[in-house]
Symmetry: C2
Subunit: 388 residues, 2 copies
Amino acid sequence: MSIKLKAITNPPTWEELSIRLKKVRTLMKEQDLDYYISFNPVNIYYLTNFAFYVHERPFILIIEKKGLPKMLIPRLEKGHFESRARCELEFVIYYEFPARSGENWYDHYQKQIRYDAKVGIESELPIGIVNKTPGEPIVSDIIDEIRIVKTDYEVGRIYHACRVVNKGHKVLLKKCRPRVLEFALYKEVTDAMTSKIVQDIPNANFRATETTGAVWPPSISHDPHLIPHIFTPMEEGGPHVSIVSAQVDGYGVEIERSFFLGYVPENAVKPFKIMLEARALAYNMLKPGALMSKVDKAVRAFITEKGYGDYIIHRTGHGLGITGHEAPFLAEGYDRPLEKNMVISVEPGIYIPGIGGFRHSDTVLITEEGYQKLTKAPETLEEVTIPI
Amino acid sequence: MSIKLKAITNPPTWEELSIRLKKVRTLMKEQDLDYYISFNPVNIYYLTNFAFYVHERPFILIIEKKGLPKMLIPRLEKGHFESRARCELEFVIYYEFPARSGENWYDHYQKQIRYDAKVGIESELPIGIVNKTPGEPIVSDIIDEIRIVKTDYEVGRIYHACRVVNKGHKVLLKKCRPRVLEFALYKEVTDAMTSKIVQDIPNANFRATETTGAVWPPSISHDPHLIPHIFTPMEEGGPHVSIVSAQVDGYGVEIERSFFLGYVPENAVKPFKIMLEARALAYNMLKPGALMSKVDKAVRAFITEKGYGDYIIHRTGHGLGITGHEAPFLAEGYDRPLEKNMVISVEPGIYIPGIGGFRHSDTVLITEEGYQKLTKAPETLEEVTIPI
């Protein structure tokens, strides 16, 4: 039973960001923290809507129990920050890195935090910043934790982002023919997605926007993290494996398919079928309350039972949200139940050197009743065998 | 007196990477460290030639006093790593993140390091990894330190990268006319640079390659870190400020210019002249032995004396190498002498709201005698006033 979703393209409202901040403070209270420090650009984006890349000039968000969050930034970024932020903040400005004695970022930073305080920090916080942080540092990934379950606004953004990759994948399958080069495919697919993004969101933030489209032809599709050479030609047969992913004005999603050009080699039929069955098995388990480790375990057991256990080289899925790769994980060792409004990839894979890679990936929403696929592309062997 | 440079486009040899590793071990010895741990992808690239982005599956380089460095990676990345690495390594492979109890990355990691050891770590190392590191952690940015002075091989790579941005900037100035949109310029400039890159380096690593070309038209050029909206039109007059930068198969460089379309507004003449003079002053100080803080101080003093002190919003320059933004810095607070084979930007800027931004930036090599500009574009007011 499918639920009706609405694609959202506007930036978060002040209310949306206030809800997120409130959640942070609820966890701060539960953990008896006086401050929470965020340095991870993804977490700062989540709370402020301001995107940046980390360089030598630090950007640090300082959240107290009450009052406006403080944002420590270099002077150079104030206008930029104000142009994108959708929440109220107090700025703490330092001039430059490095600066004259007494005027460095940490001189300003240290004035914001009491020395007797309990200070929550991200496990990603660099030791160089931990060492400059007053008070007692307590590692607790509060913002990462909150990001695991999406708000309805986020679901609407992700749903829109999925339409972008659906379009990209359609273009990819249309253009992918034997002898077409990786480079040409990349260009067609990313151009198509970028066009859609700027049409739908004219003010899209390109610091939080990125598109990728690539195909692993059969000679390398058994090695899914080997980046294909740009002059790699597509081949007859298969399995090819496509990856179309995008971060669309802040929301990251993906769609991937094993597919064939012209014909299906005989030795590819069985692993493709097992992959589809493993995938169906995973989907059947998706609903609030199901333990994520159990899904992965069941998928692995099934593939192993069918004789392909040696060809499993990754977990069944990962979360997506404001990045394309984050918690939660459909993985053994991740003993947490699925919840409504989690967004995950489902992508059990089988990788056989000499034959190729078998993996479909979709971006999937966990709903009250079970799940809903947000991405759409051909799935069955018949559908993914493209006439040439 | 200009020295003859040769553009290099081939990946580093085993010898080149051995020299870098040897420098790390020399500093380890001086600092009495038993191990050095690198997590920063830029530093790992510097020592191995393997580029990746940081996600939840950690990649950690473990260097002991002797023997092959060890590289902790997820199973999924082994083929990818081997396809790009240009040094000898011992792989320590973990299956996935997260994994079953006893099989996580840190279980493997902790077996590689003695508990009574002194372990050098980067100031960027996340606290979550510091807390899993056996032994006594000692923050010391050894690899960052070594990267500050380039090898001759690196100078050749950077020289080549500068030819790429020179080409991009030429295209930019040719295409930039009133009413042309940011988006169109970006596309022309990045396409031109990407074409040159793949012609010169067919096997370029696109995980370590990126091109950017943008113009801040006069209405926003006073705010140099405000990312222009993609539908921003160019205007008559100026100052416009261009940024053309690229990371070319691992080496990052930039060229930037203030320029005018059709005419120079009267109130822009003086600040442009002062910027050029400040720049000449900086160049005149560039030679091995000159204190970098003094260069910045002299530039600021000059601009302030001319009445524009309130409009300085950043330091005089930064280093470039395998990133486009790194140590060393032409900045007050950075009391270190210039050395032969440092590569820095020289870009004193004046930013006047209502008038615009005045900044030329070049990528500059420090030579035995002084300096050599590696990037090339028009400089004088006459040269940067483009007829329309």
